[in-house]
């Protein structure tokens, strides 16, 4: 599983924005995720994100490597910054529209799977 932290502003009435998996400017086409095979749990990834990296998250959604590669989006665990650091590579997309479409599809898959962790809920 590849864990993605969800920004508070990209959640409305419990529904995440299709931008959730879309690369941001600083990502250089490769948004960061946690490799669930390396980090112990979604809760652990949440705690690392919020307490070690001091960033904000309202919960954790996830996709699988197979779901990414099925859309020609390679997922690579690079261990940069911390051992479980991984990225989903959108740099092969032909257009911004394609990036948006595929990121939206990943969000749908992740949301259909359900929250792996939400703060305040039992792990």
């Amino acid at each position: 599983m590849l864990h993605r932290q969800i920004n508070e502003s990209w959640l409305q009435q419990g529904v995440p924005s299709s931008q959730t998996f879309r690369p941001t400017q600083k990502d250089n086409g490769k948004p960061s995720v946690y490799d669930g095979d390396i980090i112990s749990s979604a809760e652990a990834s949440y705690l690392h994100w919020t307490q070690v990296l001091k960033l904000t998250s309202v919960g954790v959604l996830a996709v699988t490597e197979a779901e990414c590669s099925g859309k020609n989006l390679p997922a690579v665990t690079d261990g940069m910054d911390f051992p479980a650091h991984a990225t989903i590579d959108f740099t092969g997309c032909a257009s911004n529209g394609e990036i948006k479409r595929l990121a939206g599809e990943l969000t749908k898959l992740a949301f259909a799977r359900g929250w792996l962790h939400q703060p305040g809920e039992a792990a």
């Binding site: 920004n7 502003s9 990209w10 409305q12 009435q13 529904v15 924005s17 299709s18 931008q19 941001t24 400017q25 600083k26 960033l55 904000t56 529209g97 948006k100 479409r101 939206g104 749908k108």
Partner: protein, 376 residues
């Protein structure tokens, strides 16, 4: 009975188009009679230094009445009715003299406010409190124009000059004005007859809990945890920083859809630069106003509401969750240009009515396609 042409203020702005005056604006005009009489009495006392009050019956039988509405945009024709026998042509009663002086002073005070002059050169400070009620119905873009006695350019009472007039009076810390706020009902108090809404950002504002709105407010309080918000419209009390401190009167309370776009945009206004883990631009407030106006004007009520999200670049993205499709449009707030994404891609100019028609048509077709699929 003597009847005199007294005042023909010219009402301009969106509220007065089609040469009509909204009924609720008559409240503003109704204040004029009391205002003018009060100023006339004060002026008489000033001219008679030995007297503490005006003679009994000094202003009895005086009435200011609306006799007709002329065109352009709307010009209420106000006549002064004076009790007693008509005077000879050209003769002026003391009543009339002081009422006309009062009119001149009020107009001069407005002129001073407009020109940045000294308002209290023209009106006593305590009389300025009447502007808290006179002109309260003006919205941005509205004005009341007055001709000055000596001719020359008209002077204008606008929401801005009115504010200056009210807050010039010493000791005045608040001004009342129309207010519309969206938030969650977080408290009701039957003993005190009040309710409290929490606005985006956390500020809490109290208002009177009137019987006609009680059920709506109590229902919204029950559902507040589920995200239900209300829109409250009424007369608000604002401090000198123009911050709403309470509702004095509540005219309307409406329960909002959970996806209400305007309420959601109110929340997104609070985002600061860096909201997206250090990235993410703040959203321009004036541009959000523009989008909100366009959305409320052009987006059809019978279509599903979108989810509303900020974008990293300081724009807005609307996302619809239909059963079989999830169209979205990413909007640049400066240009109001939208990048549509569904089964197809398109650029839609949401700065034009035609752009909104195009968007509505696309959503409508997807809704129909969903329904057809459901019926198949």
């Amino acid at each position: 009975m003597t009847v005199i042409d007294f005042l023909k203020p010219k009402l301009d702005g969106p509220r007065f188009e089609e040469h009509a005056i909204p009924l609720d604006f008559l409240k503003d005009l109704a204040v004029l009679e009391e205002f003018i009489i009060s100023v006339a009495k004060a002026e008489w006392i000033k001219d008679n230094p030995g007297r503490k009050r005006t003679p009994p019956g000094f202003m009895s039988g005086v009435a200011v009445k609306l006799s007709q509405v002329d065109e352009g945009s709307a010009i209420p024709v106000l006549k002064l009715f004076l009790a007693g026998a008509a005077l000879l042509p050209g003769a002026v009663s003391t009543q009339q003299e002081y009422l006309e002086k009062a009119r001149t002073q009020i107009v001069d005070a407005i002129a001073a406010a407009e020109a940045g002059g000294n308002i209290t050169d023209h009106l006593p400070a305590k009389a300025l409190a009447y502007f808290d009620r006179f002109g309260r119905g003006l919205r941005d873009g509205d004005s009341i124009g007055f001709q000055r006695d000596g001719g020359g350019a008209a002077v204008h009472l606008t929401p801005q000059t009115r504010r200056k007039l009210v807050l010039t009076a010493p000791g005045v810390e608040f001004i009342t004005d129309d207010a519309l706020r969206r938030g969650k009902v977080v408290d009701t108090n039957d003993t005190e007859g009040t309710f409290t809404i929490r606005l985006p950002g956390g500020q809490e504002v109290q208002g009177p809990l009137s019987p006609e709105h009680r059920d709506t407010i109590l229902d919204a309080q029950k559902d507040a945890l589920g995200g239900v918000r209300v829109a409250v419209r009424g007369i608000g009390r604002f401090n000198r920083s123009n911050k709403l401190v309470k509702f004095e009167e509540v005219e309307d309370v409406t329960a909002l859809d959970a996806l209400d776009v305007v309420a959601r945009i109110d929340e997104l206004r609070l985002l600061r630069a860096g909201w997206l883990n250090g990235g993410g631009k703040a959203l321009d407030p004036a541009a959000l106003d523009k989008l909100t106006r366009a959305f409320t004007t052009h987006y059809p009520d019978d279509l599903p509401l979108p989810y509303t999200f900020p974008t990293e670049g300081g724009g807005i993205q609307f996302e619809w969750r239909l059963e079989t499709s999830s169209p979205e449009i990413e909007i640049d707030l400066i240009t109001l240009r939208g990048e549509w994404l569904s089964d197809n891609e398109a650029t839609i100019e949401l700065g034009t009515p035609e752009g909104w028609t195009d968007l509505a048509q696309r959503i409508s077709e997807l809704v129909k396609a969903n329904q057809n699929r459901g019926n198949a």
